[in-house]
Symmetry: C3
Subunit: 390 residues, 3 copies
């Protein structure tokens, strides 16, 4: 086992970010601009959009984005704004159009590929040079989209960063090899359960909470029962390639340690009876256990509010057979509620004079410092912004 | 027919205002100061205040204004603020006082003409020079008021602009003559129905929507049935003096084209079987049809919220007889709902990067550019403010 | 009787603060910093926390403060923020812990004296110099606390101002002697009734209202019946040492002038049958009558919202006997409702152009000018801030 970083002083207390990072509307705006709108942002489960014309509307940073299945079977994403006078093309959360995307205000009509295909008097409209309108240039504004692990990842940047480095690389770095996650066949799994949590806390508190296990003994009795080493408080993500082992008596990753389902077919023997937690910055958590995968997607709404959508994914035959997933789902649902409660009771103190210069990280939390350094680097991009706090 | 302006390039796309005009609290504050509080603002229907002491409280820009019927029968308007310690004189939306306007905090008492007439120990109070208080100078602060078309128009400016130019002139410019509106005898009509709409959109989106008919074919099926030329999308207000003609089969301006009421007595023959829409900037729409008049008054509350009060006015004998106005009211009520829905689905996109530089106006909407130019000119008054956007 | 200040011109009108003092978020923030967080702030009734481990959570300025009864019987106050990662120690309004204050996130545990006494792996944590953590330095951050009149007064300043001058001195100045308030034995009284009011008004409007009686004849019929001299409108607090005398027919300080309870044992004869009102800046009112004491504590929440907690205190045997205090409580409860209504109808006008430069104080209100001067002085402390308004 290799520690993620050298920890020259394994006993000292490291400073956290200053309190204002979790409360300032200005810093949240900077995060929207330089984090959520410039990085790959996991938005929609691909399988939620099955047939051509199926769409879902998601918020990425400050933008409403339409993800839609094309007639050719491909997923595409567009800003949800008509090019004419700006009406939203779709106001429903999700739905199905018959053939095209039509603005209901003046009937400007776009193909599922975004191209402008009709509008009242379109033939007589000319551009500045007097030419007919270019149907692509006047189409819906496209948003970069990549599919991976069965999800559509979007990027609003003009030049998206390399997906292989930022997204796939984060998983490889955590698991130790590029192949490890592939054994779970995540993009072939089926959705067994979905839960949406509206959390009154800054998204970074949720990330920090997920990254450390110093709190596990205190607030996660069921999880610690299943994964006894979590009682020691060492971070689930502290060691490269390491997954926490199930307790000897534990038969499955369930709320009471009772049987789960058959292990997913492609697993390595050393992936069985283990739990792997992965953070893909900025807003995704992937949790791997032998018989299912749990994926969290965060949607930061304001400095003090984050919506979290959590999917429980199983082998397709488990879902098709209508198997009872209740005890399996209940374990991590309780973990979620316990964690989000902790985040919500932390948020109010972020504005206290007691947290003006932040709090401290104990050694088992030191790797959270990397997350803070990474954030400060992103926020200082472009304009040489001086990081706030320490 | 004369077009409102020369349109040298009847096919090109013109830019709209930038998105921030519809979302910025700063620009809304500037509009309150330089538009709603400096122009004539249509507030209250005069006939709503019948007897001496009847009052209504209205919001003009950022001010609460009291409009009250005097003992002499005249309407007057005052800031709704006691001169002593600032309590609101009236907190009810409307009502009737017996004799005077008395502040319920310390009993400072004002006549219906605003003059200070009583206060505890008033006789012993002296001004800076030691003289008795001047009862007029220490009266309620008056607001300029003009009555026209049966409504009280208020102006908070120290020197109100010429009513004849700004208000009456707008109607003349649209109808072609100063007399045309007089034929409808609007100030003698009776209120048949009133509807209040709370619209989650910037007031300018509502103005722009009212000014153009490019959307009519798409969202107004009933209106287009009654006024077939609206299906062509040419603006109702595009040509000076032009009113849209009823369809051949149409018997009245009703939701199903069935009979309306007798035409108003003073109409010119060429005003019969026609619909005229008039925008009186900043916040009033007047709709003239042969047997009734529809008046919209907007009350902008914030950058993204506007309350619209809409009156349906009929000949007094129609209202007195209790005639069934349901089909007549239903037509424009549907139009209102359709329009305000469109505005509400446009508002959210105003903050999108897709609308950072605005959208486009097709030729049938080019006259909206005049509205934008007018607004920019008003906002740049006084302090040489540089217009935002194009 | 000595007037509080010379009033060289007893008939003139004095200006009040400008309207923005009551609406500006910036001025409210300055008040939080320089008034509520630097002065002694009356927070909790000591007797509410009887046994060791009893706590109450209060908001002082922008801080959540925990007041807790120690094992040694002493009250102490701490910022309600864990030193580790900032979670709130207590989220309930009040309660009782068994032995210690434990953060429910990572189980850092503090004694009732604030000292850090346990944490997972605490023994292995070291400070920057490599030494064991100092349990006091890493304890909960203490807040200065003084008990007087049966209440815990808190001060967040690094160097609290002299309690004797700022708090006790205010009472002495009003009553004329340092001993006068002692005759009521306030800290030995028992709580008969508590009422909490959520007032949509700036805290200073509530102070100003309490300081003057020019409004009494208008809005306080019951109070004026009991205290006839209040009908003259002279301020209850205008003359040093003066208490308003009960009317001749009045038998007690009750809503209908009926009998109250026996006078408190220590009263001077000249304190019997009299009402004394005292303002202890910034947020406390004390009302003394022969048989009970009424204490108002304000909790300013924003520029336009103030929570007021009002206690009715009686001799312990009155409360122990379960005596009927309804008519006694009802009198000042009505006064409170009448006053807070007046403040709420004043708040909206503070943003009007009519109050841009404020209103006026009549001679019977001139002493409110001292409050305004005092506030301006506090706000201009430290950074030579130029007072707003007159």
């Amino acid at each position: 086992m290799t520690a993620v970083e050298d920890t020259p002083d394994a006993t000292s207390l490291m400073p956290t970010l200053a309190g204002e990072y979790y409360t300032s509307a200005d810093i949240f705006a900077a995060e929207q601009e330089r984090v959520f709108e410039e990085m790959w942002f996991c938005s929609v489960r691909s399988a939620d959009l099955e047939t051509p014309g199926a769409f879902r509307r998601v918020t990425v940073g400050r933008e409403s984005v339409l993800v839609v299945r094309g007639r050719d079977g491909a997923l595409r994403a567009f800003l949800n704004v008509c090019r004419h006078r700006g009406a939203m093309i779709c106001t429903e959360e999700s739905g199905q159009v018959k053939r095209n995307l039509q603005c209901p205000y003046h009937a400007w009509t776009y193909g599922l590929d975004g191209k402008l295909i009709a509008a009242p008097n379109l033939a007589s409209l000319k551009d500045d040079s007097g030419a007919d309108l270019d149907r692509v240039a006047w189409g819906l504004i496209p948003v970069a989209l990549r599919e991976w692990l069965g999800y559509a990842w979007l990027c609003l940047a003009d030049e998206p960063p390399p997906f292989e480095d930022d997204v796939i690389g984060a998983v490889t770095e955590r698991l130790g090899t590029a192949e490890a996650v592939g054994h779970y066949g995540v993009d072939g799994l089926a959705l067994g359960h979905r839960e949406v949590y509206d959390v009154a806390a800054n998204w970074k508190l949720i990330v920090e909470n997920f990254m450390e296990c110093y709190h596990c003994a205190t607030i996660h009795p069921e999880l610690t029962e299943v994964l006894p080493e979590f009682a020691d408080g060492l971070a689930a993500q502290y060691f490269v390639g390491h997954g926490a082992e199930f307790g000897e008596e534990v038969r499955g990753f369930t709320v009471d340690g009772s049987d789960g389902f058959e292990s997913l077919p492609g697993l390595d023997p050393d992936q069985d009876r283990r739990y792997y937690a992965i953070t893909i910055k900025p807003t995704v958590f992937v949790n791997l256990v032998p018989d299912h995968v749990i994926v969290h997607r965060m949607f930061p709404m304001s400095a003090d509010r984050t919506v979290v959508e959590c999917d429980w994914l199983y082998a397709p035959d488990v879902v098709a057979a209508g198997a009872d997933t209740a005890r399996s789902v209940e374990l991590f649902h309780r973990v979620n509620v316990q964690d989000f409660d902790a985040c919500e009771r932390t948020q109010p103190a972020m504005s206290s004079r007691a947290y003006r210069n932040g709090g401290v990280l104990v050694p088992a939390e030191h790797h959270i410092g990397d997350f803070h350094a990474w954030l400060n680097e992103r926020l200082s991009l472009r304009e040489g912004r001086r990081p706030v706090g320490h």
